[in-house]
């Protein structure tokens, strides 16, 4: 009896929850990517929604539906603009699974603070989505492209960047959390990867785009954009991007080459790279130490790889190549943009906070521009490939 009494009190507790937060999967518009562009007096948001409809009851039907749809809307501020998407959608917008946030170039140049605030404040979102800039185009155009291989455009960008980061190093993967962290940390500056459109003549926003072997339009990864505060300054060149990734220690595997003869190259894969940056105070000096292993991929000069001297030469030439590249990049960034995207400031702050406080105010005025940089690159030779000599008759 006592138990029944107790149960009669306890059981209704479950029923009066009103099924808080209950949502059936087929009532949700699963958002895979959000793009934000600037308009004259506000924002234009593009939402990419995964199409979860089956292709009709007949599975043999040749009618194929696009795998995602995009909705756009405009308003004076971001949240209202995002909400207005509902006018187009029959389902509730469900943004937990955003994979990519694309920021239009114009907006990035004007400052991305508003975006950071909106997405950071939202408690529903996962914060691990990647952030990219739409270079020379708008986020809207990027998100509309039907990409080959991946059915989802957002996955194409997301995975593409990761692969690029792993095997080439032009783009660095930055997720939203890192972005906010480096924005909030006054010692750090933001860098963001970018994507752009590679176009043939036709439009790429229909499904026929994937029906030819060379897509008319495709989203490709581009180089890194450097920021100061929340504003995009410019995009680096590919070489500079790789150098930046090396200094920031975000590279693992890439390809380096030097010209050994007229239009003849020695090309090598650099693997297992490690970067160790330290900043010494008094005199102020940044020491960049890069190690890695070498794996020769392509030799078109007449070099005898059995000769250890030649091997040493290749090694040192490649080391110098990278050293010069990094040196040039650092100088360009210092001279043209004056933004500490390498994180020297942060390293100095962490290793010698006392000294850092003395010079903090003058950092961008004089210190950063004039500090000494010492670059030490050291590659280990691992493999020469299957052939010890150049293939020739």
């Amino acid at each position: 009896m006592k138990k029944i009494k107790l149960l009669s009190f306890l059981l209704p507790l479950f029923f009066i929850t009103g099924c808080f937060n209950y949502r059936e999967l087929n009532e949700l518009a699963i958002t895979s990517a959000v793009g934000i562009d600037k308009t004259e007096d506000g924002y234009k948001t593009t939402i990419q929604i995964i199409n979860t409809q089956k292709n009709g009851a007949d599975t043999n039907s040749s009618m194929e539906q696009p795998k995602f749809v995009t909705y756009t809307s405009e308003d004076k501020n971001l949240q209202e603009s995002l909400r207005r998407v509902i006018l187009e959608s029959s389902r509730r917008i469900y943004a937990d699974h955003i994979q990519v946030l694309v920021i239009g170039e114009d907006l990035a140049r004007d400052g991305i603070y508003d975006i950071l605030d909106l997405f950071f404040r939202n408690s529903e979102l996962r914060k691990q989505f990647q952030v990219v800039i739409a270079r020379d185009t708008t986020a809207e155009d990027i998100l509309k492209v039907v990409t080959p291989l991946e059915t989802l455009n957002s996955k194409h960008i997301d995975e593409g960047l990761s692969v690029d980061n792993k095997y080439l190093g032009v783009g660095e993967v930055v997720d939203f959390e890192q972005l906010v962290a480096s924005y909030l940390d006054s010692n750090k500056e933001i860098v963001l990867p970018s994507v752009t459109l590679k176009e043939k003549d036709e439009e790429g926003d229909n499904i026929e785009n994937t029906e030819s072997t060379e897509p008319a339009e495709n989203v490709i990864e581009s180089t890194m954009g450097v920021f100061k505060d929340d504003r995009l300054l410019d995009f680096l060149t590919e070489k500079e991007s790789i150098a930046l990734s090396f200094v920031r220690g975000k590279i693992n595997n890439t390809v380096l080459s030097y010209e050994c003869h007229d239009n003849k190259y020695v090309v090598s894969e650099i693997m297992n790279t490690k970067t160790d940056v330290s900043v010494e105070s008094e005199p102020l000096k940044a020491k960049i130490k890069i190690t890695g292993s070498l794996n020769i991929n392509e030799v078109t000069c007449d070099l005898d790889l059995e000769d250890l001297k030649v091997v040493d030469e290749i090694e040192s030439n490649l080391e110098n190549e990278l050293k010069n590249n990094i040196n040039d990049t650092i100088n360009t960034i210092r001279d043209e943009y004056n933004t500490d995207v390498f994180g020297f400031r942060d390293i100095l702050y962490k290793s010698n906070p006392k000294y850092y406080r003395e010079i903090a105010d003058d950092w961008y005025d004089s210190v950063f521009k004039n500090m000494d940089i010492e670059i030490d690159v050291n590659f280990d030779f691992v493999e020469k490939g299957n052939s010890l000599k150049v293939i020739k008759r």
């Binding site: 479950f14 029923f15 929850t17 099924c19 937060n21 209950y22 949502r23 059936e24 999967l25 087929n26 949700l28 699963i30 895979s32 995964i50 979860t52 409809q53 089956k54 009851a57 469900y94 937990d96 699974h97 994979q99 529903e124 996962r126 989802l152």
Partner: protein, 487 residues
């Protein structure tokens, strides 16, 4: 006093309503009148004519004095089991067990001769607990045969049997078996006391008895094992457990049984320890899949979508597209269908079974998905849930688990993942508060028993299993296996 035989025969006729089953045959030896009484369906008329009638005729020829007739018959009769009785009650007792009664006129005692007919089927292979290795004999409906199957395996003076007769009308033979010196005295006493308290019209088989001695267990989960395998019973006896054998029942009751015991099969005693351990881990997973999976799925797709990897979510969403029911209703429908299918599969004669499974598989599996009533993933979830319950041989465990499955699903549909956690906490509370004949239900784990843990989720190698579990037996010194080699 059984001297006035006519009176006794009349009384017996009156008491039994003079049914034709009981045969009264009058015979004279010399001048002494005697009655041969037996219960025709229970007694073997072959034995009676072979042994009793022939012996009696021989005795009659030898002309003994009527004074010593009883002793002479007792001595000379070629029947092996001969008992003397001296009252009406025991006469009835033996009569209904297939014995033949010799009533001698003027003698205070009567002779009882064993002439039971063999009404049980022969010993066959186990139907419900099959193993790849191990003995292939199973208990049958005969008490003596069942006891025999056990005694055959434990040839020792220490296998003690407490026989008792239960049931007001059925007078069923019940035996309480334990190994003296291994089983705990308290446990034996407790069970004996429980058995003595029982006063019931009939014990039809061991399952009836199970419900009576398990009275304290109000939970849906079983606290004793029913098994048809003599080797399982013998192993239990050697561990210190107590076994009840009931006449007319091919299932022995083994007690106490904690949750962990249901994860073990007869196969476990024979397999290599590493292989057995892996099997048990798989079973452990199966147990939880069977318990939680539908609830987990419901919670994931109706509340906690953020927990699913994006690609999987898209996959789920595509499959759910066009399904008209909420996930909980969908799951309930499918579970209900499966339960109906399972129940009908059990009841239906085996020759119609195949058509049933075709209909079940086709209609429930394929057509329902094609029609868009359920999503394919739900079929997978329910199928996995149902299959996961099958490795457990104890039907009560599977059936009990269903209640918890429903509880989990209900809470998941109201509260999502939080509900699953709440249900799980409740489940653990229930398990911990349960005990089997004084032994905590989660025994080797909580409270922790190291000797028990050695043969729980992971079975230790044989040389490590030298001790009996201390909560089952005081005599923990050895468990036979693996002599220490001094090296």
């Amino acid at each position: 006093m059984l001297d006035d035989i006519e009176k006794i025969v009349n009384r017996l006729k009156k008491d039994t309503n003079n049914i034709g089953d009981i045969v009264y045959r009058k015979k004279y030896i010399g001048k002494t009148k005697l009655y041969i009484i037996y219960n025709e369906p229970l007694a073997s008329s072959d034995k009676i004519s072979d042994f009793i009638i022939r012996s009696l005729t021989r005795i009659a020829d030898s002309k003994v004095s009527s004074k010593k007739l009883l002793q002479v018959i007792e001595n000379d009769i070629s029947n092996f089991k001969v008992t003397t009785i001296d009252n009406y009650e025991s006469l009835c007792f033996y009569l209904h067990r297939g014995f033949t009664i010799l009533l001698l006129d003027g003698d205070r005692e009567a002779l009882v001769l064993e002439t039971k007919a063999d009404l049980a089927r022969g010993i066959t292979t186990p139907d419900t607990e099959s193993t790849l290795r191990g003995s292939k004999d199973a208990f049958v409906e005969d008490y003596q045969k069942n006891i025999g199957l056990i005694k055959k395996r434990i040839r020792s003076n220490d296998l003690w049997i407490d026989p008792m007769v239960m049931g007001r009308y059925t007078n069923t033979q019940v035996g309480l078996l334990y190994v003296n010196g291994v089983a705990k005295k308290e446990l034996v006493e407790t069970i004996k006391k429980q058995l003595k308290k029982i006063d019931i019209d009939g014990i039809i088989n061991s399952e009836v008895l199970k419900n009576l001695i398990e009275k304290e267990n109000k939970n849906v989960l079983p606290t004793l094992i029913t098994t048809e395998r003599p080797d399982v019973v013998v192993n239990a006896l050697l561990e210190g457990k107590v076994v009840i054998i009931v006449d007319n029942s091919p299932y022995a009751l083994v007690m106490p049984a904690v949750l962990n015991d249901f994860f073990k099969t007869a196969e476990d005693y024979y397999g290599k320890w590493k292989n057995v351990s892996l099997t048990r881990v798989v079973k452990f997973f199966a147990f939880f899949i069977s318990l939680i999976l539908p609830a987990f799925y419901i919670a994931l797709i109706t509340y906690n979508q953020e927990m699913i990897p994006t690609e999987l979510l898209v996959n789920f969403a595509t499959q759910r597209d066009g399904v008209p029911f909420p996930a909980f209703v969908e799951a309930t429908i499918m579970l209900l269908c499966f339960e109906i299918l399972r129940e009908s599969d059990l009841r239906v004669p085996s020759f119609t079974g195949s058509s049933l499974s075709i209909v079940g598989a086709l209609i429930l599996g394929d057509a329902a998905v094609q029609a868009g009533i359920v999503s394919p993933i739900m079929i997978i979830v329910i199928a996995l849930t149902s299959i996961s319950a099958l490795p457990f041989t104890e039907p009560e465990l599977i059936n009990g688990l269903r209640w918890y499955r429903i509880l989990f699903m209900l809470l998941a549909s109201f509260l999502g993942m939080v509900g699953v956690v709440i249900a799980f906490i409740y489940f653990i509370i229930e398990l911990t508060s349960l005990n089997s004949f004084g032994k905590p239900y989660l025994m080797p784990y909580a409270p922790t028993s190291f000797t028990g843990l050695k043969n729980s989720l992971i079975k230790f190698p044989a040389k490590k299993l030298k001790e009996r579990r201390e909560y089952l037996s005081n005599n923990t010194i050895k468990q036979r296996i693996g002599e220490d080699e001094k090296n």
